[in-house]
């Protein structure tokens, strides 16, 4: 239901045509060429990789647990952190 709600909202948003046509979207100020921000991006990727390893470890550790729900919550929360980063 949420996915269909998102599609319905996407259909009426004025920026959708730009998005699908491949034209430039209104975005925040670019960080290209800024050494400080570039190093932030590298750090972000490193953190994401570390979290990936943590997620794999958690998955491995909880694979032997009987409770599927707790395992799923653990891994899903870790993946959410990765995506947010």
């Amino acid at each position: 239901m949420v996915s269909n709600a998102a599609v319905a909202s996407l259909a009426v948003h004025p920026g959708t045509v730009h998005l699908l046509a491949g034209s430039r979207l209104p975005r925040k100020a670019s960080t290209a060429g800024d050494p400080g921000r570039s190093s932030d991006r590298v750090l972000g990727r490193t953190a994401r990789l570390v979290l990936l390893l943590a997620a794999a470890l958690l998955t491995d550790l909880t694979a032997y647990a009987d409770d599927d729900r707790s395992m799923f919550l653990l891994v899903a929360s870790t993946l959410t952190v990765i995506l947010v980063i």
Binding site: M1, V2, S3, N4, A5, A6, V7, A8, S9, L10, A11, V12, H13, P14, G15, T16, V17, H18, L19, L20, A21, G22, S23, L25, P26, R27, K28, R45, R48, L49, L52, A55, A56, T59, A63, D68, R69, M71, F72, V75, A76, L79, I82, L83
Partner: protein, 258 residues
């Protein structure tokens, strides 16, 4: 009707997209809070589906040529999704028959997911930048994320299905659902990390759509097998796929939940 169309036209030209998002969210709330199998719950389930197809049709006819191709793909997929959902839910209820698993409905859902994937590829190709380094970084990031997702799917969905002992056909069809989940996730991850979609409202809506879609896909093997005489053997998928996001059958017995 004309008032509704006028409101839609205004929303498409202005930034009033939330006028559509708000009633959809109300429908989700009604579905979650209404009594199970009630008319309110069933109607609220179909509201976002019908709105999505209707609004996409209006948008596709009014869009400029550059964006019309992807819009047609999305409209075809959403229309297929609506038709498949009717075949999955309304037709068996009206005929009082149980859908077997696997069935033609699964093939229809796979066709819909494949069209979703083609749509995402079309969007990705249009938004791909010319900077090779950026593209490589985005590809690496999406591979990392897709690999992590595959680990989760293997442990939570694939492995239990393999150990379930169902027939080869049932197991194959059940495993095709997480395969499509992984495919859509990888495409969405590639779009999210490489196209700057997260920085715009339509981009965020696109990612919310894919995220909600793939989070429900592992539960879809149970869709076609829900019915009065459904047994565990006909619905091999379990684990987190026990969750449902759709109206239940009226006469489904307690032991047939999958």
């Amino acid at each position: 009707m004309s008032v509704v169309l006028a409101a839609v036209a205004i929303a498409m030209r202005t930034n009033l997209w939330w006028l559509v998002a708000a009633p959809n969210m109300v429908a989700v709330g009604v579905f979650v809070s209404a009594a199970r199998d009630s008319v309110w719950q069933i109607c609220s389930f179909f509201v976002p589906l019908l709105l999505a197809v209707g609004l996409l049709a209006v948008r596709t006819t009014s869009a400029d040529t550059p964006s019309r191709g992807p819009l047609r793909l999305l409209l075809a997929a959403q229309t297929g999704y609506l038709i498949t959902t009717v075949f999955w839910y309304a037709v068996p209820v009206a005929s009082d028959k149980v859908l077997p698993f696997p069935s033609y409905v699964d093939a229809m859902y796979f066709a819909v997911y494949a069209t979703f994937a083609v749509f995402l590829v079309a969007v990705m190709r249009r938004r791909a930048g010319n900077r090779a380094a950026e593209r490589r970084i985005a590809l690496t990031d999406s591979l990392i994320l897709a690999t992590s997702m595959s680990v989760v799917l293997w442990v939570a969905v694939v492995k239990p299905n393999l150990a379930y002992g169902a027939s080869t056909g049932s197991t194959t069809v059940a495993l095709l659902y997480p395969t499509f989940t992984l495919l859509l996730f990888a495409l969405a991850a590639r779009l999210a990390v490489g196209s700057g979609l997260r920085r715009s409202v339509p981009g965020a809506l696109l990612l919310v759509w894919v995220g909600a879609e793939i989070s429900g896909t592992p539960s879809t093997p149970c869709r076609a097998s829900m019915g009065p005489s459904t047994t565990e053997a006909s619905c091999p998928s379990h684990g987190w796929s026990r969750t449902r996001r759709s109206p239940r059958w009226r006469s489904i017995p307690a032991q047939s939940t999958c």
